[in-house]
């Protein structure tokens, strides 16, 4: 065993230098030079401000915007660090609900969400509108869920529904073999803002880490991992 000690330690050091330092730094160097946009997280900038990442969902809470799926992410409770509070679309702590198919918590949460969206056993709602995603950061919604929201956004913005319908169509992506047909929520909302800017004073100053979504997260269990 002792004769194996030197190669064991030497190999750990050598592989750390090669695969733990040189390899990630080299990839970082190449990526930062050749593919700056995606390497930095595909951020979307509007009027000089980063408004989010094209790949990461955001917590839209007001009627003027299209809203994403319910999110099960959480954040440390500012009052008590050992506890967590619901913080939808917390992109610093991705997580799913991890509720199983026969969980009463899941049933109660979905029941509340369906009711909030005006659905009933006779009038079903889009499944993605009432289920949380795996990461809590799903950037997309289904065309069916987008269609459910067009009327609300149109009346909040006093815009013609047909105009909004066109924007939704523009931001629907997904070719047959490489992904489902889906609507990119942030890009759609940026397009909405370009068409009909929200006056600066009207923007609510709420923080996304403390404000719960109005759609369905009240009962989501904060999962520890």
């Amino acid at each position: 065993m002792l004769s194996q000690l030197r190669p064991a330690i030497a190999m750990i050091v050598l592989f750390t230098a090669l695969t733990g330092i040189a390899y990630p730094l080299a990839i970082t160097g190449i990526a930062q030079v050749a593919m700056k946009g995606p390497a930095d997280g595909s951020m979307i900038t509007r009027n000089g401000t980063v408004v989010g990442s094209a790949l990461i969902g955001e917590n839209f809470a007001t009627d003027r915007f299209f809203q994403g799926r319910p999110s099960a992410t959480s954040a440390p409770d500012p009052k008590d660090a050992t506890k967590t509070v619901d913080a939808p679309y917390n992109a610093a702590n991705s997580s799913g609900s991890n509720l199983g198919p026969t969980s009463q918590k899941l049933v109660d949460r979905v029941k509340a969400s369906v009711a909030a969206l005006g659905g009933s056993p006779a009038k079903s709602v889009a499944a993605d509108a009432v289920t949380t995603s795996a990461s809590g950061l799903d950037p997309d919604i289904s065309p069916a869920y987008a269609a459910m929201q067009i009327g609300r956004v149109a009346s909040a913005r006093k815009l013609d529904a047909a105009k909004i319908q066109a924007l939704v169509a523009n931001n629907t992506v997904g070719s047959a073999l490489f992904g489902n047909s889906r609507v990119q929520v942030l890009q759609l909302n940026v397009a909405l803002e370009d068409l009909d800017p929200t006056p600066a004073a009207a923007a609510p100053a709420a923080s996304s880490t403390t404000k719960p979504a109005d759609n369905a997260n009240a009962a989501a269990a904060p999962a520890a991992q």
Partner: protein, 569 residues
């Protein structure tokens, strides 16, 4: 299920086989020490590694010395990775200012990464500094995979040699596995992944101001370099808590197809390399057919169960057409999610694109059973080969008993000692999985960690020990693993699931190597045809269904009927 969904699945599987054939040839050359087209570039680096480590690359080892080298290397990795996590608060490349990791969690994570498990009781973006992710976790993603590959080829050599005292040199196998195979593939894959949207930066986070005026802190980091080896080395430890379901680890359907391809690639190519090295490609084909049948069966069941959906939710007024969407990302779709989930648990990868905890009961049963079988369809890098070879040895023994002949595999007689060693390896799994699960459900501390009650709660605990014992690393994530009880017991399950399994396997290699290789005769039971595939499948079913049916009946199976009856817990 849709035709398009099946096309996606078949596209990935066909691409894997097409790429694995040339790669298998290459792996066979690399692990035999032969010259390849990469030699001019890599040989100088390789020589530096041997020189600085004091390794004589020409000198081979017997099985004892080979095993000791493997254990010494794993021990050095365990201690250094533990120290790195504990000390990360004092070290550079810690932009988030994280403190050192707690002792129990650091132990669990160190065991997890040296055993190629990558079970994570922590959320990466909230616990580990960039230095720990790069110089700790990424390193072990490479070397734990190469360790598995080394042991697999030591066992293969034992079958190809006649009356041999040695089975290769561990240090050479380890070095060549990383330098010639894993590192070059990872470099290419990491760059493609960045192009596909996976970040690679030394920053910790970006602060965005949403259109509603709120702040959103978006974690980033050197993700792509870790993501590439995470899949290629069948490791599975995510940079982020949500693993490949996180949009920065699985940005689109095509990147996830590429990830599914990458995690199946080396295991499948290794089987082809095996066929080449034993001098009969049909031997590889019969093992691959066995693995493929189990894999496709698993995809079918999972895909069907998830598109069938959850009748409890449908009854509340949720449109059932899209299937079960709780814990799934829209951009992947049900077909790819099913393929990835079966691939990740059929290998020892354990990265996830959906929350397995939220699968329907039968959907969750598939990854669970894949792991209870020890992740052999097609298995982890190296681990798949030695796992299926142990089962092949048991199969020829049973076949030999049926016809009353001395069993042989690849020209080697299988006798008492070989059978004892094979059974010793196989039996460690149920002991660890059922033993720890049984104790956990009797303890308050074990039950306090549950996120779900009823039969699904039992499934959460069973899944955790199945995953850690088989060195997979995927989870029913609702279980809070970061407690003293689970950090310790899951750590022990990973440790013994790896080492108590591979020591008998290497002893088996030593025992087989010294035997004379007999030429095949008319009395030899053929192991390269459909009859053997059928027998091997039968052994797998009998062995694992008998061991685990009772506990599965109490978990996922009873939950399935509860779901159909509309009962929630």
């Amino acid at each position: 299920m849709t035709v398009l969904g099946w096309l996606q699945i078949l596209l990935v599987l066909v691409a894997v086989v097409a790429a694995a054939i040339p790669l298998g040839r290459y792996i066979a050359k690399v692990m035999s020490g032969e010259r390849t087209f990469m030699t001019p570039v890599i040989a100088p680096v390789e020589r530096v590694f041997y020189a600085l480590s004091g390794v004589d690359a020409k000198r081979e080892q017997g099985w004892r010395s080979y095993t000791l080298a493997m254990l010494a290397f794993s021990a050095a990795g365990l201690f250094s990775l533990y120290a790195l996590q504990r000390l990360q608060g004092y070290l550079p490349l810690n932009p988030q200012g994280f403190d050192g990791v707690d002792p129990a969690l650091a132990f669990n994570s160190a065991v997890s990464f040296i055993t190629n498990t990558n079970w994570q009781n922590y959320g990466g973006e909230t616990t580990m500094s960039h230095l720990t992710q790069m110089a700790g976790l990424t390193v072990h993603n490479f070397v734990s995979a190469a360790t598995g590959l080394a042991m697999a080829f030591a066992l293969i050599r034992a079958f190809t040699r006649s009356e041999a005292k040695t089975i290769g040199n561990f240090w050479v196998d380890l070095t060549r596995g990383v330098l010639y195979l894993l590192l070059p593939l990872s470099i290419v894959l990491a760059l493609v992944m960045v192009a596909g949207g996976i970040p690679q930066t030394l920053l910790a986070s970006v602060e965005a101001t949403t259109l509603e005026g709120a702040k959103q802190v978006i974690s980033v980091g050197p993700v792509a370099s870790q993501e590439a080896i995470k899949e290629l080395g069948t490791n599975g430890g995510g940079f982020f808590n949500a693993n490949s379901a996180h949009p920065f680890e699985g940005p689109s359907a095509w990147v996830v197809m590429l990830e599914a391809f990458s995690l199946l690639l080396v295991p499948v190519a290794s089987v082809i390399a095996f066929g080449r090295l034993v001098g009969n490609w049909r031997e590889g084909r019969s093992l691959l057919a066995t693995m493929g049948i189990v894999l496709i069966l698993g995809v079918t069941v999972l895909y069907a169960a998830e598109t069938f959906g959850n009748p409890i939710l449908t009854a509340l007024g949720v449109d059932g057409a899209a299937g079960n969407l709780e814990g799934k990302e829209l951009r992947f779709g049900q077909a790819l999610t099913a393929l990835f989930s079966v691939g990740t648990t059929g290998t020892s990868t354990g990265s996830v694109v959906a929350m397995h905890d939220s699968f329907t009961p039968l959907g969750g049963l598939v990854p669970l059973f894949n792991m209870l079988m020890g992740c052999i369809t097609p298995g982890g890098v190296g681990a798949g080969i030695y796992g299926i070879l142990v089962l092949a040895v048991i199969t020829v023994f049973v076949a030999g008993l049926m016809v009353g002949r001395t069993p042989e595999y690849l020209g080697k007689k299988i006798e008492t000692r070989e059978m004892k060693l094979a059974m010793l390896a196989i039996l460690i799994y149920p002991l660890l999985v059922l033993g720890f699960t049984g104790v956990s459900v009797m303890l308050k501390t074990g039950l306090d960690s549950l996120n779900n009650s009823g039969p699904h709660g039992l499934s959460e605990i069973l899944y955790a020990f199945a995953s850690t014992t088989a060195n997979n690393g995927s989870a029913f994530g609702g279980l809070t693993g970061n407690t003293l009880w689970y950090n310790t017991t899951l750590g022990l399950a990973m440790f013994f699931g790896r080492f108590a399994y591979v020591v008998p396997v290497l002893a088996l290699a030593g025992s087989v190597a010294v035997k004379r290789k007999a030429p095949a005769s008319v009395g030899t039971f053929p192991t390269d045809g459909p009859l053997f595939v059928g027998l091997l499948l039968g052994i797998i079913v009998i062995l694992y269904l008998l061991q685990y049916f009772p506990v599965l009946a109490l978990g996922p199976i009873v939950e399935h009927f509860a779901m159909l009856a509309g009962k929630a817990y």
